[in-house]
Symmetry: C2
Subunit: 337 residues, 2 copies
DNA sequence: TTGTAGGCGTTATCAT
DNA sequence: ATGATAACGCCTACAA
């Protein structure tokens, strides 16, 4: 691998001059500039980025923390983030926590060891106080979860309102006994949604059922299991808020196979407006988030903070959500896709 | 940010000794070791990875090239790759080409500029001769596409055989007029599949239809469009090989909405055994690839090559595929999920 | 067992 | 306009 030194020698000039050419700086006459360019070509020279990083104290790289990339909500978010980052000339390192708080901390070390200039967290599995420790090492922007105590910029939708809207919709459709599902009550998102659910339930004085399993609903499989347990233990439930299109799909799949009619016997609401929610039959009523816009905004904020340096105070960016009403909650009729 | 020098001074020792402690090397007595550890703690020292990279000529980072992460086939593959890489202490940079050969080349530069130690390509949009140029800069392993001329290790399933199996299955189910769909005939995968399709069609002497649109089938939306055009132009087609569960889902969705019975009027085969293929109603017959195993093997091979250094000759790892027969091609009956 | 010193490849500062 | 030189922070012969 040729170095800048080799190029300089080959061109009969100094490293400084070569460096100037590499970085498009002035104060190099055309003739020498050509000589340098030629030498670089001859030797197949390419600047070593480790050396550049050391010298410039920048990596042009950001890390994105997320639970699992196979969750379509996150893969859509990452797709948009990577695209935007790439436009700005930044690399993206992907960090799957698999819901482990330890892995989350391990990945945060990337910030301290200066492997990345900044970080995006789409999920949070530690106390904020623990994460705050890393802020001096570089900017962190949150996207998706709304952590009350967080003293850094943050992007999210109003989960409480979204759950309230969805629950109200179930009630308006005539549901009288509801269930609230979530992926675990330790997340800020599930907590907010639960508040919204409870608000609607109390406001309309509708009854609801609780069960330990209801807070372990994470994928298609758990949706299927929960349907079975509901069938056996409390078949009078007639409306479910799932917080996930995959869970909703699992429930619907199992219901169809067991002769339970959706939405007549059981209405189901999903979350995230994933591809599957449109394709299922019946199609799934769901809450849509503007993932792409949120992702792009997030990257822009982060890169801005990186390039401005210095600490930044918290700013909240709250994006709008939309309830997509489909046939899993409403009587069948032509609804355009 | 404290440096190794600061720690050394604080502990009243030399940089060397501190370095030895950092890297768990022998020849440091316990007392001084403690002093160093204490000093690191006091100062909040953390080694700077840019400096380490420059010194060691290693980045402990690999890049994964793929078209789009939102394609579930790729997101499952990346999930497994990132997990495996992380176990080995490697970071993963994600590079979406969005099917652009230029972006592919841009990302390959990461290898030349030593931002990564190695690279995995899950799709290839340039002539192999162009990609070969990068091989001297670091190992590249292919995962998914089988490029004939490639002189590097490569992992794939037998796409031709898979398409042959799927097509034969359609024929066995009684289909008499087939169509072959793909995402574009410029990819090695589509070409292999077409060979398999043709082999079955000729062997059983079944007729088939061609159309320009048939090679633009990439997602749910295009599946829907293709169904519509088939309805209008050649409704006698009774069996379709799609090469994609999403395309298959789009076709089925549209067929159901238009009163065309699946599989009686039209049988459809997908590819990749994605979540959606089990959940659709009818469920989609599809070809399963052992994505996770392929991904893990790929990362292992790459890291091995990185750590052994030197050029490696091509080895082929061919993984087995399975045809999952479901209701989009077979008369309804109880098929366990 | 410990320390000294040189170099990894760049870029910025300061002369000339 | 060009060049010499000193960092950036770390690791490792080699010397002691």
């Amino acid at each position: 691998m040729p170095t800048i030194e080799d190029v300089a020698r080959h061109a009969g000039l100094s490293r400084t001059t070569v460096s100037r050419v590499i970085n498009d700086q002035p104060y190099v006459c055309d003739e020498k500039r050509q000589r340098v360019v030629g030498a670089m070509r001859d030797l197949g020279y390419v600047p070593n980025s480790s050396a550049r990083r050391l010298r410039s104290q920048k990596t042009e790289t950001i890390a994105i923390l997320l639970p699992r990339i196979t969750n379509p909500f996150f893969s859509h978010m990452i797709e948009a983030m990577e695209k935007k980052a790439s436009e700005w000339g930044y690399q993206v390192i992907i960090c799957q926590t698999h819901y482990s708080s330890q892995k989350e901390l391990d990945y945060l070390e990337l910030l301290r060891t200066k492997q990345v200039d900044g970080m995006i967290m789409t999920s949070v599995h530690n106390e904020w106080s623990a994460i705050e420790e890393y802020l001096p090492s570089g900017p962190i922007v949150l996207c998706n979860e709304n952590i009350e105590e967080a003293n850094t910029s943050i992007i999210y939708i109003d989960q409480q309102e979204a759950a309230y809207d969805a629950t109200t919709h179930l009630i308006e459709q005539g549901c009288e006994k509801l269930a609230f599902l979530s992926g675990g009550m330790d997340s800020s998102i599930a907590l907010s949604r639960r508040r919204g659910f409870m608000k609607a339930v109390q406001q309309y004085n509708v009854s609801f059922v609780e069960h330990d399993d209801f807070n372990q609903a994470v994928d298609v499989e758990s949706g299927r299991e929960i349907f079975q347990s509901i069938q056996q233990e409390d078949a009078t439930i007639d409306g479910i808020f799932t917080g996930s299109d995959e869970v909703a799909a699992g429930i619907i799949y199992e219901a169809m196979n067991n002769g339970v009619s959706i939405p007549d016997d059981l209405a189901v609401v999903g979350f995230d407006n994933q591809t599957i929610s449109k394709l299922m039959n019946p199609s799934i009523t769901t809450v849509e988030q503007p993932v792409v816009e949120m992702a792009e905004k997030c990257v822009e904020i982060l890169i801005q903070q990186i390039e401005q340096r210095g600490r930044h105070k918290r700013e909240d960016y709250i994006f709008p959500h939309t309830l997509k009403k489909r046939t899993s909650t409403t009587k069948p009729m032509a609804i355009p896709m």
